[in-house]
Subunit: 246 residues, 2 copies
Amino acid sequence: MKDHEKEFLAQYRPEDFPRPSVAVDVVVLTVQDGKLRVLLVARKEHPFKGKWALPGGFLRVGKSSRDQGEDLDAAAARELEEETGLSPSQVFVEQLAAFGRANRDPRMRVVTIAYFALVRPDLLALVRPGGDASRVKWTAVDEALDPKNDHERLAFDHADIVRAARARVIERLETSPIAKNLVPEPFTIPELRATFETVSGKKLDRGNFRRKFAQLVERGVVERAPGKRATASKPAAVYRFRDATR
Amino acid sequence: MKDHEKEFLAQYRPEDFPRPSVAVDVVVLTVQDGKLRVLLVARKEHPFKGKWALPGGFLRVGKSSRDQGEDLDAAAARELEEETGLSPSQVFVEQLAAFGRANRDPRMRVVTIAYFALVRPDLLALVRPGGDASRVKWTAVDEALDPKNDHERLAFDHADIVRAARARVIERLETSPIAKNLVPEPFTIPELRATFETVSGKKLDRGNFRRKFAQLVERGVVERAPGKRATASKPAAVYRFRDATR
DNA sequence: TAAATAGTGTCTATAAGACATTATCTC
DNA sequence: GAGATAATGTCTTATAGACACTATTTA
């Protein structure tokens, strides 16, 4: 029985069927200057040469059935690190969805597995774009998706992917503590509220937000940090997410 | 400029890089006999010959850059139709996620795009399994995932995929009207409640459930249907989801 | 002291949980 | 009439929205 399987595998020829290419693209998001921003890379080659695109690349696949190459998550982490110098331990990364419309790439059939990553604003200083920095920029998501920016349209179907990522983050913001990965460490309540507002695009009541926040403290998701944040007016108390929280 | 791109595309050799295979698998779910059930197919060939697996197959990719083959959604719809005879117009289908761990298939690197589909129980009679019916069965999800059923373990990483599908459906049950695709048409309030209970695995209070349901009627999501459902005791009023609802 | 913003309190409307009561059918 | 379950009502508690008020800093 088991021998039959071995024999079968030995004779199997994957080359007999045409196969698509598989890529991994990462929507790297942060909040800066009161805007949700996405990391874009200028394409060096055709197709869409010179256009802005998401960082990404082809999945590395081994050549034998033994060595089958890197996992999808590893590929996403690798692309992120190559393009930003940030390791997955510092950054929240999660799979978004697969995008595989025929003709989304004029070269050939490409199915891309899209991921999104959240970079805390206080880590932005550590970002070292791989290659030359002029090729990389943080663009406001609203701008990147603005249909009036016709001359700066994103390459491929990357606008769709960014839209999906934003929708996913907004959804998760209310049901999970991913906000941790979008506020500086430590942070003040008004800062956290501002982050929610810029990501969701909605104004939030100060008092009501504090009340919700108080629940997070009670549940031990978040805790006071020493010191205060100096501002132009009354300084604010600072907090931090407790470990083992995402 | 544009000419450069044409030239580039003409010279591009996708064959130069090793590529994974891309498959599409579908978690077809329904509720029957008070259980959430998944459609499984016995594998005819190695690997995992004779084991139960999700219906699925390889993505059809065209041979030229012009004809790039079918969309992912189309491939999922095709697999569904081949295995059940049901068309996507009768069934709710949505992408779940990509699963692409190295070595999840011993033959070669395979990345699968998993979908889930919901089949209304009153459509089960229409299901005509492609090929011989003995190869297909509706298994209770709890059973398929029971670690004690060691001898009947699902092929590949399909247990992971089924788990993810169930989690997604439970999540969506509360935030969208997908329940429409899991109750017969028309249905009674107790039937709908039972469906929620079997999918989520939680008991729900009758009175409170009715109150929630009343909101759906007010919002026009659902409406009274003529007649009543005869039961062993007091008959229940029947309802139906209004069109353009998913 | 004025301006600014952090932080608190309160009133109301809505929704959720628990559970008791009534209504209508079959046998 | 008994048993079963559909259908309704009620009491309590928790949560969300709107908004007024107090506190503490800088300039």
